[in-house]
Symmetry: C2
Subunit: 337 residues, 2 copies
């Protein structure tokens, strides 16, 4: 059934050449007579010859494949980032193996094994909210396989990273709320294990400080990004003796869910409670009221990460410093604030 794969030896035999010559003709080496090359190319075309990348990779120790490990696929964030990454990767001649770790550490570890088995030339990683041990990623460093983090980065590894200025984005979002006259601004924060949660929280605090708005411990809730729990926390906030007049959510899905909960209680957004999110997901402009949010250049993040990775793969010597690329965010003001 599965018929014999056409090899350079088949071509060589047919043309009474050696496999070396055929190989040279095919790879575009100079020292091969134009006629010969022509003949080889024509026959290869005719026989529908495909180079066996397995054999080539085995010799060259390069697969021209990069791996991408992301924690989830539910929001539009990672698909968009992947599109960006794939764009520059394929332009540079790399194909892409994508794994999704479902926000669980176990799966992430399994995914790194897949990447090693596939002999990828480098990996792009955004860690799960559970990941606290990084041994499975340090293996790549040890083996000399370049690694670049984006979005959810690992602080204890000295490798290139692509992030946005979470602190600044958060800072400006909260300043915006204060500018709208809000005095009691709550923050639904992400898990403290993630650096981005921490930075967004710090930006929030800084904005309050700058405008002399008192910081109230009670108004900050860290949660594990399990969207089902938003309901509990928002209700808790609204039931406070002195409830908030605005909620700044760590990301858009959280903000959207927050709006749903507020509306369900018969309160109005933004009249009663203003809501601001982070990331500018595709959905955010469509919901009612449209969500004010801190937009990230998601596709550009993917592009930058892939570029950094490929640069690193192509680098000859180990004489370089791990760049941390920080992209700018932009506050998109809509109806919800």
């Amino acid at each position: 059934m599965k018929r014999h794969q056409v090899t350079i030896i088949d071509i060589a035999k047919e043309l009474n050449l050696s496999k070396s010559t055929v190989s040279r003709a095919l790879t575009g080496h100079k020292s091969v007579k134009p006629d010969t090359r022509q003949a080889v190319l024509e026959l290869a075309e005719k026989l529908d010859y495909q180079r066996n990348m397995l054999a080539i990779s085995l010799i060259t120790k390069k697969t021209n494949t990069i791996g991408i490990i992301v924690p989830e696929f539910h929001s539009s964030y990672f698909p968009k980032a992947i599109i960006g990454a794939q764009e520059v990767a394929s332009k540079a001649g790399y194909s892409t193996v994508i794994c999704q770790s479902d926000e669980t550490y176990e799966t992430e570890v399994a995914n790194t094994r897949v990447m090693l088995a596939n002999q990828v030339d480098g990996i792009l990683v955004s860690i799960t909210k559970e990941t606290r041990n990084f041994d499975h990623l340090k293996i790549f460093q040890r083996k000399g396989i370049p690694i670049v983090f984006f979005n959810r980065v690992c602080d204890e590894m000295d490798v290139p990273k692509v992030i946005v200025d979470d602190y600044d984005g958060s800072f400006r979002a909260v300043c915006h709320l204060i500018g709208r006259g809000r005095k009691r601004i709550a923050h639904l924060a992400g898990p403290s294990s993630l650096k981005i949660s921490e930075k967004r929280l710090n930006g929030y605090k800084a904005a309050l400080r700058k405008h002399n708005v008192p910081f109230d411990e009670e108004l900050v809730i860290s949660y594990d990004l399990n969207i089902d729990k938003v309901k509990i926390y928002v209700n808790h906030l609204l039931n406070l003796e002195n409830p908030p007049d605005a909620i700044f959510a760590v990301n858009d899905p959280t903000a959207i869910e927050t709006i749903q909960v507020i509306k369900k209680r018969g309160l109005k957004v933004p009249e009663d409670i203003a809501v601001v999110g982070f990331s500018n997901d595709f959905v955010s402009g469509l919901i009612d009221p449209a969500l004010t949010t801190v937009a990230q250049p998601v596709k550009e993040i993917g592009q930058a990460a892939a570029q950094l990775l490929i640069d690193q793969i192509n680098r000859e010597v180990a004489d370089w410093k791990a760049i941390i690329k920080v992209l700018k965010t932009e506050l998109v003001v809509r109806k919800s604030s």
Copy 2:
């Protein structure tokens, strides 16, 4: 920098064994002394040995990799389907190479080359709206590489396919609108090149016929899924002398955009115009008004497609028929109708 990869020969030398024995120990072959196996396994662990899948694949002619080609990543449909497919693939020991063809034929062809170069054991494909020539996919058939279509299928190839009952889903959606008292139901259809467009259109017509609602050519518009054009078509429909009182859109993004356009004209959904979509994207429940839509079991589609593919890869003889698996849809009634 890039240090020598640990091979079975390294292990063999260290233990004064032959590579054959080490190979046998590692693959769990019976005829190897328990002590020896133990020693090999321990040393492999200690040296952090990883099997070189390239070499193995070169011999076995199996990469344990499946390819997935999808037309886009913008709606939640394909990411969700991919999650399903990856789930069953990885359970069966396969990793996944994903390509996104950006709704262009050119890119799709390029993607098939990537798949061939990667020597995938099989591919899952959903074609672009542009794809009319299928030679690049027929190559896989010729080479004996299994192929399964899902969602956007190719009619002229006799291979397994996973689809939903588009006709039936469409039929019920339109019946629902008629049941709500709508008499002039427009249909924003997809490009006629796609089978799903045709089937959804047929379901629409059938529902009208069944309830003796006259079919009006004027109320059906086929378009190329370029979302920016929805505005033009919806405005055209609303400007008709005898405008529609409902619009059935070929998919959810179209329906959502339709609602935006209607709202911008100051009309009310569903009071003035009811809107129904198809697919139940993640967004659809969140917008205002929440969208009535025909839900597809997207993850299950991905799972079924991957399962069909793996079955086909594992099949010994060529004695089989190309199954067409048709999954059921479910009408989700929300505020927009």
